[in-house]
Symmetry: C2
Subunit: 729 residues, 2 copies
């Protein structure tokens, strides 16, 4: 296990997540109590710090001198484990504060998670006591914590191995499941664990910063049911993912799942797709199946990253070569195209029936000499078009499968692979069908820090995570998000006016705002009365025009007969104007009508949609997708937290499944992607300048080979004046 260079430790959590003294409030000799288990865990694992059992009724707990109350302990304790009922917690935190305790683990439930007013009130009281006394709180309603490198095992888990996976899990069962899986795996271990529980005080962002700075943690792994402050988590993650891999499993991926989560911890669960997108935006490795958490954490911890997504597969069996190819393609990876040199060099050492095209199938060449596989790996690793290497088959089992004297060759092969992994910056992932029985050659690989998987599916998830991380680091290092524009005074007045009137922006106001900040919006002219039409006709000439009624009272303009398309010439405009006004008045006789807006018809192109919402968890988020059924039925959209970097914007265009349509189908030319990226960035840059803007909807934008046209724009205005800061959340 490698220890990372010690980073500057700015997180206040170090003081109590790596404590030198611990008070156990509610220490007990009753084996069913947490106050007993924690004592046992500390003593059995040989905790080197001081333990202060707190119990007013006994002198000693498990042979350790006990104290009647916190006030009685000599000096201070870095950490207090509070095992007593919920009602006692606020008072105990005050006592902790008086003794200089830095952090408290509050196990009790009965707080906000109950959803009941008394529980919510008790959590507020607890939090007030914590703030007032300067004590940080893990929980309440937490499964506890451990720091195995400090031999602090407050959960008294058996057989949990110290290692370099830092773990934060909002489910105690998930912690147990991962610990048991690690036990079976035998090769991975954990550094620090904490259960954030209700996140009343310490949230995922704080834990992540701690793990980022913890020298014993090489990979931070989080099981999240709900973030409380997603925006701060994104900020923390952006910093930490630059240093080490961060793996997140977010539960509640489906509507059904979300229901279960909200009944569990009461944490707000945003849209799953949005959550995944904004996490990936800041370099988080999101895993989508719970049984991939540990394999991906192990692989990323050991190998960190790959340069890209081009994988070279070397297999000693065609069947599994095919499965590997299938799974690689599904995971968005590519089979590297091997150079002629590579193929020639492989051909020199392999049987004639071998397949030299990726996936390389040695077709029996290694049956009598398993070390030959290492030679193949060496050759493909030297190919410039290869980013990572995947050995697939039965390496490690040759000596059981074929002949016992092959063990020597397997061990030589293992050493050569270890040597190759040391020299090369290309990660080597081994899948072996013999991994479940852990034969000597695979044990050797493990010892040397090369991960070996017993599932092709898991191995491929690791390769994908390595490639995604490498690409993220290369693309996003040094990339800056667009700065917020300076708000225009005139636009601020428009918002103020709308807010005063309790209305949203008129379409032409929204478009003017966009124009003000450099968005190309086709010219539009408002005819307040029929008298304005002559000059408008002069301006637009014989172009076909769209005409739309302008009224805050008419939301569904088409339904009201308030829209006319392909209108030409002044005479046509007059007829259309009168018809629109008459129809709109008939539709709603009370409607205040500002006039009719005229604009040239947009030329044909691809309809896209750009939206902005202010998510309660992640703050302002931009959405992009193709219009119509793509967004409504297929929900084929991409999200990014605002502000966007140029990479964020361009990656949205590549992420949607319907991207082929942007590239041109049925012989049509591709749309101007650079113009769309520019549009996304302009929208991103103006949202934060206008806190009253709570929703924005450009639908449709017509994307064309030579630019775009914003055909409709809608801006929803908050009904009450907001402080700028609040609006950003």
């Amino acid at each position: 296990m490698t220890t990372m260079a010690n980073a500057t430790q700015s997180s206040p959590l170090h003081g109590f997540l790596a404590p030198n003294s611990i008070a156990i409030v509610g220490a007990s000799a009753d084996p069913t109590k947490r106050g007993y288990k924690a004592m046992v865990g500390l003593i059995k694992d040989g905790y080197a710090g001081t333990i202060y059992p707190i119990n007013p009724k006994v002198d000693r707990v498990l042979g350790v001198k006990a104290y009647r109350s916190l006030a009685d302990i000599p000096g201070t304790a870095d950490l207090a484990l509070i095992c007593t009922p919920a009602a006692s917690v606020p008072g105990l935190l005050v006592e902790c504060g008086k003794k200089g305790v830095k952090g408290a683990v509050v196990l009790a439930s009965g707080f906000r998670e109950t959803g009941r007013p008394d529980g919510i009130k008790l959590e507020q009281e607890m939090l007030a006591a914590a703030h007032q006394s300067g004590v940080r709180v893990i929980g309440p309603n937490t499964s506890g914590m451990f720091n195995l490198h400090k031999k602090v095992n407050l959960l008294a888990l058996n057989n949990v191995k110290a290692g370099d996976i830092g773990l934060i899990s909002q489910s105690g069962n998930m912690l147990l499941a991962l610990v048991l899986e690690a036990e079976r795996n035998g090769h991975v271990g954990f550094s620090t664990y904490a259960g954030p529980g209700n996140q009343a005080d310490i949230g995922f962002n704080d834990y992540l910063r701690y793990l980022g700075e913890d020298p014993h943690t090489r990979v931070a792994t989080l099981y999240v049911e709900g973030f409380r402050d997603g925006r701060r988590f994104l900020d923390a993650a952006r910093e930490i993912t630059a240093l080490k891999p961060v793996v997140v499993y977010k539960s509640g991926s489906t509507e059904a799942g979300q229901r279960a989560a909200s009944s569990h911890t009461g944490a707000l669960a945003g849209s799953y797709a949005m959550t995944v997108d904004v996490l990936r935006q800041v370099g988080v490795s999101v895993v989508q199946h719970s049984d991939e958490i540990l394999p991906v954490a192990e692989g990323l911890g050991l190998l960190q990253k790959a340069r890209g997504k081009r994988v070279a597969v070397v297999a000693d069996g065609g069947g599994q070569a095919t499965i590997a190819s299938d799974r690689l393609a599904e995971a968005g990876l590519e089979l590297a195209e091997l150079s002629e040199t590579t193929r020639r060099r492989l051909g020199e050492i392999l049987f004639p029936q071998a397949s030299l095209v990726n996936p390389v199938d040695v077709a029996g060449s290694s049956d009598a000499n398993p070390a030959l596989l290492a030679d193949c790996l060496e050759i493909v690793a030297a190919d410039d078009d290869v980013d990572s290497i995947f050995l697939v088959g039965m390496f490690g089992g040759y000596y059981t499968r074929f002949a016992e004297d092959l063990l020597g060759g397997e061990m030589r092969g293992a050493e050569a692979m270890i040597e190759l992994a040391r020299r090369s910056d290309k990660p080597l992932i081994v899948y072996s069908l013999y991994a479940p029985v852990n034969p000597p050659a695979l044990r050797r690989l493990h010892e040397a820090g090369l991960p070996v998987y017993s599932s092709i599916e898991h191995a491929v998830r690791v390769l994908a995570a390595l490639g995604e991380r490498g690409i993220y680091l290369a693309a996003c290092t040094g990339q800056k998000a667009v700065p917020t524009v300076v708000p225009e005074r005139a636009a601020q007045l428009v918002f103020a006016d709308a807010q005063a009137a309790g209305r949203d922006l008129f379409e032409y106001e929204a478009k003017n705002l966009l124009r003000t900040h450099g968005v190309a919006v086709p010219e539009e002219l408002l005819a307040g009365s029929a008298e304005d039409l002559a000059s408008i006709a002069a301006r637009f000439g014989d172009q076909p025009l769209a005409m739309k009624v302008v009224s805050k009272d008419i939301l569904h303009k088409s339904d009201a007969g308030g829209v006319k398309l392909n209108v030409r010439g002044e005479a046509g405009m007059r007829v259309a104007f009168d018809e629109i006004m008459a129809a709109s008045r008939a539709y709603d006789s009370q409607a205040v009508i500002k006039g009719v807006l005229l604009t040239p018809m947009a030329r044909k192109g691809v309809e896209v949609i750009i939206g902005v919402i202010r998510d309660p968890i992640f703050g302002p988020v931009l959405m992009f997708g193709l219009g119509g059924i793509f967004v409504e039925i297929l929900e084929d959209v991409a999200f990014r937290a605002i502000p966007l970097s140029p990479h964020d914007a361009s990656s949205m265009l590549e992420q949607i499944k319907s991207r082929k349509i942007l590239a041109g189908v049925r012989g049509e030319a591709a749309v101007d992607k650079a113009a769309l990226v520019d549009l996304l960035l302009k929208v991103s840059s103006l949202v934060e300048a206008y806190p009253e803007l709570i929703e924005l909807d450009l639908n449709p934008v017509i994307a064309r080979p030579d630019g775009y046209a914003v055909v409709d724009a809608r801006i929803i205005v908050s009904r009450k004046p907001l402080a700028a800061k609040e609006a950003c959340r």
Copy 2:
């Protein structure tokens, strides 16, 4: 392990897959040779039949009397294992025939799979020898076979346990991987294994029939790289899935994967999506990840089926309840809506903080009494709206996690679950995070035939497979496919005419054919010259019409200016007619133009597409999907092998992801699904009547709330006369 009632054994494979005597051609004392390994496997496992080692150079092999040649053995052998090189095989098969050997396992490679002419020729020679001598062949290029209930272990695998999973794998590595996985799992075993290799003689359909009849096999499990005769496989599968579960993993799910498969066994690989659809059509349980093969086979073998897809989840931890809900929804399963009675009864035994809504979270209620979980399962099992039951959490680990004296409660709980499973027809699936360490309560469940999973993902795949199988059996038992119509003489003449002219059917001919067989096609009239327009105008009145040029030489009618839409009245028709003729002549002055087709414009609706292709593997297959981008970009289509049953047809409409659009979006009414089903069945019924029809394309069909309109129809005609039988393949 339960043995199934002995079915009638019609498969000729029983005679040699359960052999009473075995000749080992190439038996050897060299431990690296297959002829040695097979001898060791038979002797070590205690094979009770007679072994005849064949080796001209020695008197005994491993102490067993050897023979110089097959001709020298006394009497016959049921099975011959041929370990000698490819060139010797045809001669050896002739020798086998003379001695009355029923089947031969041919290990050698160097046949068709090489792709080389000499290999292909050798395989043909081998096959001719086999046919001539009446010997059936497993392979060539096979990994071998075993029948563990007969103690025939020709692969000499260590630690492979006899059980009820029958396995056919086209990859030897996959066999090994599954055997090693079973060893780690410890609870499952195998009956018969065979590697079909090149399937020169015996194909997957034959093996499947054998496994279907084998009394030791409760579930047939197939790893398939390519079928050779997919149509016969479908026929076999339709019969066998009615008796026992059939699990298929088909490799080559992606383009990259397909490339690897074709370089491996040379078997043709059809479109993966199509393969999955037609396999499911006949009740096969298709798994899409290789690490799901064994869990699904185990679960289906033990539990067979569920009534439907409504799952009740009982969990002792909210985190995993959420994960289970997520995965259930993703797998197309539903969280059963629990009745008021069920919820009341649960409420009576659970803590107040428990969630009584599915997923049921006992929230600590079972911490001191794990047997309570069995009571919860009992209660949800009694709910009529529950089809299967899923226990999620840490059952089996209470005694390690909480207190040792809980072991008694766990064992009582296990007994109650076993008793419940015996009484109830609702399958019970257990996921436990303690499954990897196999504690006593879980061991007990296993012994009693209840599967326990260590992965939520795998458990959910099993629940899905059980539900799909139950629904298939209920829906398809007794359902008959539509019979082929009797071909119309007139239509046969049209095909003959087209074939003679080397052309496809004209659109109006295709539509006439459809009309002939009861498909509702809007009336169309052909104007051979402008003189016909008067009578056509009289017929259609003032309806808006579509007009299209008719010429075998003009494929892209729109490009040629050969299409006019929304034409009204006789005068308009005349103008349009002249324009179409002029434009078409200008487009291709050599084109033979039959005239212009006139038809009323189709009213608005949902565009769907219906296609028929003759797949080289599976024969005629029908495709259904929504038109335009749905089929072209999203490939959102469903396939069924022809002929279809009514269930097949209606299930296509439910399968496509865009089904919401058929149900009506944006307030539009749902389309007439019954009419579409009828159309699918009519198309299915006519394809086989016309063997010259090699492709059919109805694109678009406009589906409406009150029926449908076939707007365009295209029928491709085979260029050479086909025998009817050939056309069916």
